[in-house]
């Protein structure tokens, strides 16, 4: 696989960042995750964190290096994550289970599969145009569907943040799955929270996302949304990926990642924990550092024992 990927999460004007994002990949499969812990509820960031972490863990356990069935993987991993949030709430005597939105996308064998619950979105862009995006599980979207309000009015509507599907909470999530969607060279997939898409319309999002390389376009887009949102800007998070046909000319750039050289059981992962409480960040990273050092020393000694 060859792709360019960029992710960023920022608190906006809020004190805490309850968004969590991650991506990880094996040689043959890529997973991207965005979760928006729900502010009105206690411990929203805990729900988002658990969701992202659990799904990433399942991915690492099952993508060896291909997932046997991407759709089944998404369904099971999301269900497990939902259960894990409920368990966590019980174990810690939370008065109610925390909640989070989720949008997850798997890519393997040149096709994308995604699933979402709530109002975090996935956009698929091709040649600078919007091919498709997820429909929010929100009251606003329902009202648009029923013709009660117009799409253009949606951003003004007070019920914008009311969503009827999420992980955690008192009800089972209603997860929506995409069909298998083959990717073409240059296709762009962007997953984001409402902090990003809320302040601008789809056209603005598309235009800004396709202007230049992702590592510049995404921060610029986030800047725009944050500025437009003003003094109460919500947390803003995005994972964006540009797909490169392995055989296309000029496919590889300095920034692009080729997984061709990866070991069959190798993984790369990146969880963005910018909003996590200090203790939690340190804990996660500590493990990773220890693991990396162990692996390197194992490689050194493997070679040593050959001599």
């Amino acid at each position: 696989m060859r792709f360019t990927i960029y992710q960023e999460s920022r608190p906006g004007k809020r004190r805490d960042n309850q968004d969590r994002i991650a991506h990880c990949y094996s040689r043959d499969a890529l997973l991207m995750l965005v979760a928006d812990g729900m502010g009105g509820h206690l411990h929203g960031e805990v729900a988002a964190q658990i969701a992202v972490q659990r799904i990433a863990e399942r991915f690492q356990a099952e993508a060896r290096p291909l997932l046997p069935d991407p759709q089944l993987f998404l369904a099971r991993a999301i269900e497990r994550a939902h259960q894990a949030i409920l368990d966590h709430a019980l174990d810690h005597h939370f008065p109610e289970a925390p909640r989070t939105t989720l949008v997850a996308c798997v890519i393997q064998r040149g096709a994308a599969y995604w699933a979402h619950a709530g109002d975090s979105r996935l956009y698929l862009l091709r040649r600078g145009h919007l091919v498709t995006r997820t429909r929010d599980h929100s009251r606003t979207q329902l009202m648009i569907d029923q013709g009660v309000i117009k799409a253009e009015e949606a951003h003004l509507h007070p019920g914008r943040n009311r969503i009827y599907s999420c992980l955690g909470g008192n009800f089972n999530p209603q997860v929506e799955y995409s069909p298998r969607t083959p990717l073409r060279d240059g296709d762009l997939l962007a997953l984001c929270t409402d902090g990003v898409w809320g302040p601008i319309d789809d056209d603005g999002l598309v235009v800004n996302l396709t202007a230049g390389v992702l590592s510049q376009a995404v921060p610029r887009l986030l800047d725009i949304s944050e500025r437009k949102a003003g003094p109460t800007a919500d947390n803003l998070s995005m994972v964006a990926m540009c797909w490169h046909d392995e055989h296309a000319v000029g496919a590889a750039t300095v920034e692009s990642i080729s997984t061709r050289t990866m070991e069959l059981d190798g993984f790369e992962s990146r969880l963005d924990l910018s909003g996590t409480a200090p203790g939690a960040t340190a804990e996660f990273d500590e493990d990773e550092i220890e693991r990396a050092i162990r692996e390197i020393n194992a490689a050194i000694h493997k070679i040593d024992s050959r001599t």
């Binding site: 960029y6 000029g250 990273d285 050194i300 070679i303």
Partner: protein, 315 residues
């Protein structure tokens, strides 16, 4: 960003099982020390200490990392691990050996075999304008063995330059500093983006959308050959693509070196990757098989030639 220099750990400092003897170098991303292990063996220890993200003051051991840089610092560590990971896979006489990897003082350390000698960069500076053709051929032919090993493991060096080619006292070269391995990971952390050394990086390293491959390392080999022959690297590749002011050495240095060596230097330095030597092996063969070298000492060359050929047979 104010880049204050970091203070090195002092001589005599006990670092894990090693005792620091002295500082060898200070880079933007790391400090390298000469140290001794518990048996008195000399080792080189590279300390992860990015200037822009961490500051170690005089007399302190732990660098201070401000809250705003903490994640970037941790993330850069991963890239340092990438360098370790790459090197740990390789066992080759012309690639520096990693011996150990550990954590201390809030950062991480890579222990390498200590090599006695100097960098090719230092050598060129001392002998500017009179680096002997035979030395160039011998050093580069062997260095390319190391590079072939790197490529055989599906890795790329991407930072070949005279200051990363180390000459042991016996004249054999060692490839150092796989720091560029970090670049794949660093795409979204501009703070730590590696600085390509102008003049040695290939045009495709400056250009988004261009394909990176073994030919990229080949360009840098050519630029390093250029530095040996002329005393300085060619103009920056990104400037060359705008307006190419590079004079072919086959014109400017005619008579000083064999035509074949000059031609193959120019060959590596083509802006178009397709015009460069098709493989490291092809380049290496050209370096060893010299058709018309009038002043070649017969006995020496035949001896070295056969030894190098037996090197090439491997891998």
């Amino acid at each position: 960003m104010p880049s204050q220099a970091n203070c090195a750990l002092p001589p005599g400092f006990q670092l894990d099982q090693y005792r620091i003897e002295r500082q060898l170098s200070l880079g933007g991303f790391s400090i390298v020390y000469l140290a001794r292990d518990a048996h008195g063996q000399a080792v080189a220890i590279k300390e992860y200490l990015p200037n822009s993200l961490a500051l170690r003051k005089e007399g302190e051991t732990e660098p201070q990392v401000s809250e705003e840089h903490r994640l970037a610092f941790r993330y850069g560590m991963k890239c340092f691990f990438e360098e370790g990971r790459s090197l740990a896979k390789l066992m080759h006489p012309n690639v520096v050996r990693v011996l150990n990897f550990f954590r201390a003082n809030g950062t991480v350390y890579m222990v390498m075999q200590f090599e006695r000698g100097r960098t090719l960069h230092d050598y060129i500076r001392k002998h500017r304008g009179e680096v002997k053709e035979l030395l160039i051929r011998a050093v580069f032919a062997r260095m390319l063995n190391g590079l072939r090993e790197v490529h055989a493991h599906k890795l790329m060096h991407l930072d070949i330059k005279p200051s990363n080619i180390y000459l042991r006292n016996d004249g054999t070269p060692v490839l150092l500093d796989f720091g560029a391995a970090r670049q794949t990971l660093m795409s979204d952390q501009p703070v730590l983006k590696p600085m390509y050394t102008p003049g040695y990086a290939a045009p495709e390293q400056y250009e988004k959308g261009a394909q990176i491959g073994p030919w990229t390392d080949i360009y840098s080999v050519g630029a390093s050959l250029h530095a040996c022959i002329v005393g300085s690297p060619p103009p920056r590749a990104d400037e060359r693509t705008q307006q190419d002011t590079l004079q072919p050495v086959v014109k400017t240095q005619a008579g000083r070196y064999s035509r074949q060596l000059l031609e193959l230097t120019d060959w590596c330095l083509h802006l178009d990757p397709q015009q460069r030597p098709p493989s490291v092996y092809a380049l290496q063969k050209a370096l060893i098989h010299q058709d018309n070298a009038p002043e070649r000492p017969e006995h020496w060359f035949s001896d070295l030639g056969s030894r190098l050929r037996s090197f090439i047979g491997r891998s």
